[in-house]
Symmetry: C2
Subunit: 430 residues, 2 copies
Amino acid sequence: MNDVIKIAQMAKDSAIKAQGLLTEIKNFALNKIAVALEESKNDIFNANNSDLETAQNDLNNGKITLSAFNRLRLDENKFRDMVQGVRDVAALNDPVDSVVWSKNIAEGITLKKVTCPIGVIGVIFESRPDVISQIVSLCIKSSNALILKGASEAVNTNKAIFNTILNVLNSIEEFPQNMINMLYSRDDVKLMLEADSYIDLIIPRGSNSLVKFIKANTKIPVLAHADGICHIYIDEFADIKKTIDIVIDSKCQYPAACNSVETLLIHKSRLCDILPKLVDKLVENGVKLLADSSIVSICNKVSLACEDDWNREYGDKILSIKTVNSLDEAINHINKYGSKHTDCIISENDENAEKFMSLVDSSGVYKNISTRFADGFRYGFGAEVGISTSKTHARGPVGLDGLTIYKYKLYGNGDIVSDFVSGKRKFLKD
Amino acid sequence: MNDVIKIAQMAKDSAIKAQGLLTEIKNFALNKIAVALEESKNDIFNANNSDLETAQNDLNNGKITLSAFNRLRLDENKFRDMVQGVRDVAALNDPVDSVVWSKNIAEGITLKKVTCPIGVIGVIFESRPDVISQIVSLCIKSSNALILKGASEAVNTNKAIFNTILNVLNSIEEFPQNMINMLYSRDDVKLMLEADSYIDLIIPRGSNSLVKFIKANTKIPVLAHADGICHIYIDEFADIKKTIDIVIDSKCQYPAACNSVETLLIHKSRLCDILPKLVDKLVENGVKLLADSSIVSICNKVSLACEDDWNREYGDKILSIKTVNSLDEAINHINKYGSKHTDCIISENDENAEKFMSLVDSSGVYKNISTRFADGFRYGFGAEVGISTSKTHARGPVGLDGLTIYKYKLYGNGDIVSDFVSGKRKFLKD
């Protein structure tokens, strides 16, 4: 048996005990972790400097990108947010042991649907060491055991943060041993993905290619999104001002985000009024435009798009534009090329908007509002586990409740099925 | 591209359109299917007789078991239940397009969490042809596309039932083409399990080995339970009469059911009072008993159990009995050997019961009530998609809502994220 399986087994044992953790104990631990992180700040920054030194060489040699280097670097702001994030999770409602509903199925027999933790969560993340305290906090609050695997270039920072947290948990006797665990070797990822007898849910935090690799290589349910190919459809009945405001915000406010728009679909009837104004504004904002031939033929500020452009997440100030003949064509295009993330219709026609929102098969369907709102914090969840484009378990921005499932508690008083089969007793109707 | 992938692709296209099906149309179709099945009764029974003739040879040659032969046979009762089942699904509430919650995240911005179909459901079932109409009804009602694969020994019956249903759907123009599909070849199962780009959820209906095979061979989420190793723990504070009633019902009322009890755990303090009476009653009911050495040494009506007995689903009038020294030992035993299906504590001590129900990691945790209650109909769901022992999506008896997920609908009026980042506007607090 390899070490990863041993750790996963111990995490599973620990998960059973963690189910009984009281809210007060969990919040006490979280607040103590926040203090401990503050107290270990120097050690954590020293460890980060050591990682940055190695990374600087890799950067100079072209082995890593500047953005990867920047993600690795802790600074005062990131550290403050990291610590505040732990306190914020402490302030959230406990997602566990909450009665979803309760009813009497027969006289004297009460059925309760009650939330409970999932069990063992596996999180595989790249570079950003500030993710650790966030993930650990969410798992503590939801009473799940955790196996973390961070990037090797952040190994010293990860160790410093993780050990600070582990020391706190080890000092609180109510916390089961091995509830949180950290793996450091790249080879461990493969072993984690095979540990489907022990790990109940995998959450990758990182690039599209990381997410795709993980989805392709495990039978464990994965909570994530790979691509974020978001669309805005400018309907026949779109308002010009709203269109310009929303498109500029969706593309330019933070182009690297997964909820930024990548493709505009425009109803053919709006090529003459909305399109020229919108193109001017986009170009003014430094956006490079690629469009179909009918748009290229009437507008000299755009280049010709190829088929591949409808499939691309630019993550940059680039936008593809396509003419559609109808609402149906827009819906079909999005369902074919989209990534089930977030798609918006701009329209003053409620019927068109409702049709779009019903038939576009995405986790977020928007009407007259920027795609950049797709975010757990903006939705008011108080925390974001990730954004999921799966079709089961959890979808869209996932809050703390995405780390829970439910069990049925049935309370009787010596009741037997025979009495119901014989007709002596009857189940209650709703 | 093979035929199964083509069918799966077409089902996926159809699933998009099925999202827009109105409740009235779905119910109209279901009631029309019920009538059509009644009208095709002779054809269906003729087809079944033809399957039974072949199966009779297989039975004589020992190729199939008597119970498989009986599952294949339609009779008046099964047929009536089958038709009534379709009408019952028509009478259920529509699980789609129901607003889970709705809130204003900022002034003028409304977020709605709305239920929607999952997409394409794959169902692989053994022998029982009466399953078809049930599964099709549930998928129609939840607006999901469906790919069915039945057992080859029921091919004629399956075709007769399926074609009757298909004719009805084809006669209603609102129903998208290829919403329900049927595969007949054994080789198609493997291809279905690989179609993870098209099929969103697999539901196996059949033996433990079928479920295990499917779980081991697909990346598609599986809604099912493999084993049903249910426990009853007789606590230090158990009531004798309740214990005897519940244990007899849980073991004898229908021993082949997955929610029948397979292992009793008894607190050491109750070996002298409860055990002898319980053993007498079980033996009287024809139950064969296997127990640990401490029980064998004081009771001559039981045989010695081996380690393997704690892992076995007998599905028959056989019961294993183990002494435990404490509630904790009972909890640990169940979490180690159980199947996360349904486990019960018999106790008059509320604290012990709550601890058991909190720490036993099963989809159903019961207090003083027969394990045989674990059933979607008994829970009042009006339908049962299956019983799930997974840790994500759906758990325990799963009703129609297990075939749904949700999307977020966000309604704005030209709102942009920049205004919130700049501080010009603020999100509302809960």
